[in-house]
Amino acid sequence: MTMGLFREKGIYEGASDAFASEGFWKKAVQRFFRHKLAVIGIVLLLIITLMSIFYPIIRDSSIAFEVNYTAINASPQSGNIMGTDALGRDVFMRLMLGGRVSLSVGLVAAICSTLIGITLGGIAGFFGGKIDNLIMRFTDTMMSFPFLVICMVLVSILGPGIGNTMLAIVLLKWTNAARITRGEILYIRERQFIEADKALGINRFKTLFAHIIPNALSPIIVNMTFTMADTIMTEASLSFLGLGVLLPTPTWGNMLKDASSLVTLSMRPWLWIPPGIMIALTVLSINFVGDGLRDALDPKANL
């Protein structure tokens, strides 16, 4: 209602280029920190990140790899914080190293796929016509496979490993970002400050990168957060199935794979419950942050 009023008077239109300006971001930060769950999320995420970065530095990380037959399958009551696995490797250290893998796969894949999505969606939305049709048809086709199905096929083509897992996810995960970017651009393109650009004879690419994309950024950033949560989950799933990151590199997913033996599952819960909880905690806190970001950056969305 108020928005319509503003738009009629031209106030909202005039102010909208300031969407990407300092005032907007300052307000967004304030709104974000008022969101309780988002703050909990960011604190948790920070703790997990810092621990997985620094714990292996402070303590010698070789206890996660060296086979130690004197202390196999030790329960958490022994000297090791979370006990040891079937080869006598320290579970807690493996957990922290796994955190490094999960977080970096999540972050890198989310950023890269978002960049691809912005580029393709941007081109489609800005040029329209045949190019738009072609790109969006391709996007639709990619989206018509169940995600895990096509991802498993791609990983088995590329082969296992951290880099290949990231690559496979990046090659498939850009579709949402592309759709969102295109939608935003179609909406922004009709606004007055873009017309002003045209009237001033500003280069089309400059308009796209300097004026349109910054204004479309809010939903893209929110989407990127959720993509990161998804990506961490996907990596864990792939590693759990024995396709993603393989041993000896520890990841939360392949640590959980140990539980596929009934003995481990029933007798040594300290081997598989912690990695599961870590995945859940990380994804949960990223989802909290994403929710906070959506409320902060995109007040119109009401989910």
Partner: protein, 304 residues
């Protein structure tokens, strides 16, 4: 669209390292010569250019022939047919369960907005969406099959038994683990959708006419709040299929997901192509059905 899908499926399957001729000799004792493999390739037409092979495969496809598995030598379509039932059973029950529970909780939570119950449910739905599906499965097996042995750990039937009760017992845990995430999702959307409807003008009108709150909710709000949920069902089917792959692996449920896992690990190209194509068709059909259902329920939407 379907044509592009077949092309992508074919190219991806052909990019996989190793081919059918190698797979046939895969379990050999090392006495197979390079020439023998080469001869086999020639016989199977694997040395023809990619495009020729693609169109040959496409031609077979149009006749309804998905080819023969390169590992078991069974027709792919027969293998898929054998596994459709269990997967549909698992996905179907889980979908129904999650719609009923999720929508009910979501609407309850919207009606009691800002209450403690609403707050707890919202947090629970966050947690539900953050749990890895295979972890939920493992936890259930740990508690309800190993610590308190109420349910069987895996499979679809006990040895020798084949009754309906036995099937239900085997279905319970996998179905529940598959549903948790969906329940959380349906809850979140139906809560949002119900809140939007509750804040709309015609609800205020209905209330100000003096209609009982209960009648307002059931007669006026519910119907409109449920419309967007239909779209959600369509979106959820591919996700449900991805989930089924994981859950079938955890519970050794003999469905399409397990077949797909074996196909990937054994690099069975024709089986993989068949399964990918099949899953894409499931997605397309469910999208189409969603659109039709949407148009039927909501008279505001009309397609040309």
């Amino acid at each position: 669209m379907l044509l592009v899908i077949t092309l992508i499926v074919f190219l991806l399957a052909n990019l996989m390292p190793g081919d059918a001729a190698m797979a046939m000799f895969g379990s050999g004792d090392g006495s197979i010569t390079v020439e023998a493999i080469e001869q086999q390739r020639e016989n199977m037409g694997l040395n023809d250019p990619v495009l020729v092979r693609y169109f040959r495969w496409l031609g077979q496809l149009l006749k309804g022939d998905l080819g023969v598995s390169q590992v078991t030598f069974q027709p792919v379509w027969e293998m898929i047919q054998l596994r459709i039932g269990p997967t549909l059973l698992l996905m179907g029950t889980s979908l129904i369960l999650s719609i009923i529970i999720g929508v009910a909780l979501g609407i309850f939570s919207a009606v009691k907005q800002y209450s403690i119950a609403d707050y707890i449910l919202t947090i629970l739905s966050f947690i539900g969406r953050s749990l890895p599906i295979f972890f939920i499965g493992l936890i259930f097996v740990y508690f309800f099959a190993l610590k308190i042995p109420v349910f069987p750990t895996s499979g679809m039937h006990s040895m020798g038994a084949s009754g309906f009760a036995d099937l239900l017992k085997h279905l319970f845990l996998p179905c529940l683990s598959l549903s948790i995430l969906r329940i959380a999702e349906f809850m979140r959307y139906s809560r949002a959708s119900m809140l939007e409807v509750l804040n709309s003008d015609y609800i205020w009108t209905a209330r100000s006419k003096g209609i009982k709150e209960r009648a307002v909710l059931i007669k006026h709000a519910l119907h409109n709040a449920l419309i967007p949920i239909i779209t959600l069902i369509g979106i959820n089917i591919p996700v449900l299929f991805s989930g089924a792959i994981m859950i079938e692996q955890v519970f050794q449920w003999p469905g399409l997901g397990m077949l797909f896992n074996t196909a990937v690990t054994q690099r069975d190209q024709s089986l993989l192509m068949g399964l990918c194509l099949f899953s894409a068709i499931i997605v397309l059909v469910s999208n189409l059905l969603t659109d039709i259902a949407y148009a039927l329920v909501d008279p505001r939407i009309r397609y040309e």
